[in-house]
């Protein structure tokens, strides 16, 4: 009889985690370049139910456990900002960013410049081009970023384009293996980086979060309902137990 309690508990724990994931998605509904997470569950068969006194051989008890959080890597909506340093990727690639801990990847294209003229993320980490960080000169103006990532400017009173570098786009064989590090950054994890050939970038746009709020809300409802249902189930199980103990131990007068 304990099995129902334990299975219910296993399910409640996974539901709680699913709720945490939904909460994180909703909290990041306005985070540039954020990719929503989904929970995956799998059946966990425990061999030999100890308190299974039914006829026949031992049955296996089916528990549930969360197998993973699956990332929804679909494209987020593009918002026009008109800011010349905002870049959005159309495609599966990532920007390469130089951090203190090594190279990291991001889809957040809300870039700015630092005091030495380097193109940096909101955190101040340089955005990498094909030949290192992209650096602007003090007299540069009319910054233009081509769909292939080539950054050109007009320098001083010059009329011809000067190239300042080409934003490096990186693709991964399996983006699910990228590790979310927070700060809108991904670590390589077990994925293999390769140069991207298919994606394009768009200047003056930012990729918003791909969180689908309506779907998250309905998923949240599902989770709360399932959780409450399980609580009721646990309650009923406990009541059953209680009445069994009371009845069995009742000394007839």
């Amino acid at each position: 009889m304990q099995n129902a309690l334990l299975i219910g508990l296993a399910r409640q724990v996974t539901l709680e985690r699913q709720m945490d994931t939904i909460a994180n998605n909703v909290a990041n509904a306005n985070t540039n370049g954020f990719k929503a997470d989904r929970s995956l569950f799998e059946e966990y068969l425990n061999s030999g139910a100890r308190e299974d006194n039914f006829i026949g051989s031992d049955r296996r008890v089916s528990y549930v456990q969360d197998r993973g959080t699956f990332r929804d890597v679909s494209q987020g909506p593009m918002e026009q900002t008109k800011s010349p340093l905002d870049v959005a990727i159309s495609g599966d690639a990532y920007f390469a960013v130089q951090t203190a801990g090594g190279e990291r990847y991001t889809r957040d294209g809300k870039f700015s410049m630092n005091n030495v003229g380097q193109l940096v993320t909101s955190d101040g980490n340089p955005v990498l081009g094909n030949a290192g960080p992209i650096t602007f000169q003090p007299t540069d103006h009319d910054i233009n970023i081509a769909p292939d990532g080539t950054v050109t400017v007009l320098e001083g009173s010059g009329k011809a384009d000067s190239i300042r570098g080409k934003i490096r786009l990186v693709a991964f064989d399996n983006p699910q293996r990228l590790e979310k590090l927070g700060f809108n950054l991904y670590g390589t994890g077990r994925a293999t980086a390769q140069a991207d050939t298919k994606s394009t970038v768009q200047q003056g746009f930012v990729e918003k979060s791909n969180v689908n709020s309506v779907a998250e809300m309905s998923r949240m409802l599902e989770v709360t309902r399932a959780y409450t249902q399980l609580s009721t189930l646990l309650q009923q199980q406990s009541d059953l137990h209680k009445s069994a103990i009371e009845k069995l131990a009742d000394v007839p007068a």
Binding site: A23, A27, N30, N114, S122, N184, M217, M220, Y227
Partner: protein, 262 residues
């Protein structure tokens, strides 16, 4: 339950987002105002099962992990330094910069501040000053009998003196650039000061070397686009409401647990 804290970070972030948007809307008619947008980042993840970890002795590795995020934080409120539209006023001392550059203003304490607001006036000594009475750099004094003040695209100020048919150049208004103008610190009064992030000020001449040109008789309007601000405001409000819903849902889940075994 983690979801409660996660949603709380979301509510705090959206609250700040609404603050930033409302400040943009409040400054819709502020000359030379540059709008801000709040930028957010996800918080660090709890890796309950690490992606790529070995799941059996045979070397099977997990294709996906269990990563639970902790919410959201504000990383900054970057300023969008795009050009605002110029509106004509016809005032001789209303100046606007089209393109790069700020007017440099001398403060009473001897420091400099920088502004895109070119609503200038003349003080009792004939100097060209801001609305606060601080002189525009380099200080230009207009003779009290002069007429026909004219400011060229390069910032050259010329006047017609009595008894003369041609105009006389009496000075040149300078413009200052920063390598990272978005890194300037706003100090109110439509003015900015330099910071370690903005880089050192580079004084120059308007309409040359990539500096913008000066337009006399015009003012630069705020670069706030009211339609996009309103849609951002609605989005922020909805996001706030959703986070509040998450909190009540998580609360309901906890309640059903605590109600057990009364």
């Amino acid at each position: 339950m983690q979801a409660l804290h996660t949603a709380a970070t979301g509510m705090a972030a959206q609250e700040l987002n609404v603050q930033v948007i409302s400040n943009n809307i409040a400054n819709l008619r502020t000359t030379g105002f540059k709008k801000q947008t709040a930028a957010f980042q996800d918080l660090i993840y709890e890796h309950i099962r690490r992606v790529g970890a070995q799941s059996s002795d045979q070397g099977t590795i997990l294709p996906v992990g269990v990563d639970i995020g902790g919410g959201v934080k504000t990383v900054g409120t970057p300023r969008s330094m795009t050009q605002g539209t110029l509106s004509q006023t016809g005032n001789d001392l209303d100046l606007a910069v089209s393109g790069e550059g700020f007017f440099k203003i001398l403060q009473p304490d001897g420091s400099y501040q920088y502004t895109r607001d070119g609503t200038f006036q003349m003080d009792n000594q004939g100097r060209i000053v801001t609305a606060q009475g601080n002189p525009v750099q380099p200080t230009i004094t207009i003779p009290n009998n002069a007429s026909g003040i004219s400011v060229s695209m390069q910032g050259q100020v010329s006047v017609t003196l009595p008894g003369s048919t041609s105009s006389t150049i009496i000075g040149q208004i300078g413009v200052t650039r920063f390598i990272n103008k978005a890194g300037l610190q706003p100090v109110g009064n439509n003015q900015f000061t330099e910071t370690p992030s903005s880089g050192a000020p580079q004084d120059g001449t308007a309409n040359s070397e990539g500096y913008g040109h000066i337009t006399q008789g015009s003012l630069e309007q705020a670069n706030v686009d009211v339609v996009s601000e309103m849609s951002d405001l609605i989005a922020a409000q909805r996001a706030y409401e959703m986070n509040a819903k998450v909190i009540s849902a998580a609360d309901q889940m906890m309640q059903s647990t605590t109600a057990l075994f009364r």
